[in-house]
Symmetry: C2
Subunit: 180 residues, 2 copies
DNA sequence: GGGAGATGGTTGGCGACGCAACGATTCTCC
DNA sequence: GGAGAATCGTTGCGTCGCCAACCATCTCCC
């Protein structure tokens, strides 16, 4: 709120073009990637990304809560997502040795195989629909901008662990489909 | 040059950083904007955007199908979305004069008032979380990139009418909350 | 004019997700 | 050492969206 003068310019006169392009691009892209993945590999984009996160994790397993953070999903959402993957035999639920409250999701051989099979489709989608559309020189700018937007929205009190790489010591990366 | 990337290089070696930043930024942003709007005005982001599209349309009404296209939603999704808005008194359903099959959604006075009340919150969110995070010089680049991505995903056979502005002759724009 | 097909919107059924509430376990601190 | 608070994951319930099937109307063409 605070419709008053904010530190930045007033909200009137704001050019919404960039904002709308951003929304539009994401909506179309996410839909398309999801469709392709479902059609060819019977996996939703969310399921694919879950398998990917697991594959990248040390030991190919992750605590439920951790998964919720990195997938930007609620705890209950992850519980059900893992339920489905367990039903499909792609993931196993194991209890955490060091904390009896905790549960871990661990990738099965079948899950890894499915992930590897689906990876080319997914990566091709990213290449063809995202990178191919953007001028090569613009890519770093887009990354910087997107990173800044995401960072600006991290919980003030939260650690906002910058997901993805940069955290993993490195093991298990050779198991990951990005290179397979 | 610099990290030259063939137009369609192999999917290995692809730097997924920009892609992940993009996903991350959208996920956090959309969630945050939705939360704020709900908390303060009891409107979902989708509902807000629906009201906005109606407000911008000539006569402040739109055919259901048109709405589905511009909101990037399925027909049934729009039917139910409008159902809710009708229940809340923000929108009225009228039948189309020129085509008895058709239905139109038209903004009520109450809907317009609600939209105007919510606009400052929404615009402030865009300003604070999107524009404020991006370097001013990068904004046009982001717009160009996002526009290209979206354009690349338009149905080959479809018209992919780039809705938004550029199409409306101009009327009713003074009724829109962007300036209220 | 009238049937075949296209088009517009609604409905039933379903999947996916969030929130709040709930056990279960661990941590904290006296 | 044990009571109370914090944390972890699951479950009940409500919401939102999609797909397929459906009915109504419009269009085309014989």
């Amino acid at each position: 709120m605070t419709t008053e003068r904010a530190p930045s310019a007033s909200t009137d006169e704001m050019d919404l073009g960039p904002w709308r392009s951003f929304l539009h691009a994401h909506a179309r892209l996410a839909r398309r990637m999801d469709e392709d993945l479902r059609a060819v590999h019977a996996l939703s984009l969310q399921e694919y990304e879950t398998l990917l996160h697991l594959a990248e994790a040390p030991g190919r397993r992750l605590r439920m809560g951790r998964l919720a953070d990195s997938l930007l999903l609620s705890k209950s959402g992850v519980t059900r997502l893992i339920d489905r993957l367990v039903d499909d035999g792609l993931v196993e639920r194991t209890s955490c040795a060091s904390d009896a409250r905790g549960a871990e999701a661990s990738l099965t051989g079948s899950g890894l195989a499915r992930l590897r099979a689906a990876a080319p489709t997914h990566l091709a989608g990213i290449r063809d629909h995202f990178y191919a559309a953007i001028d090569g020189d613009d890519v770093p700018v887009v990354e910087r901008a997107m990173h800044a937007v995401a960072a600006g929205l991290c919980e003030p009190g939260g650690i906002c662990d910058h997901q993805d790489a940069a955290e993993h010591p490195g093991p298990a990366h050779d198991q990951v489909p990005a290179r397979a």
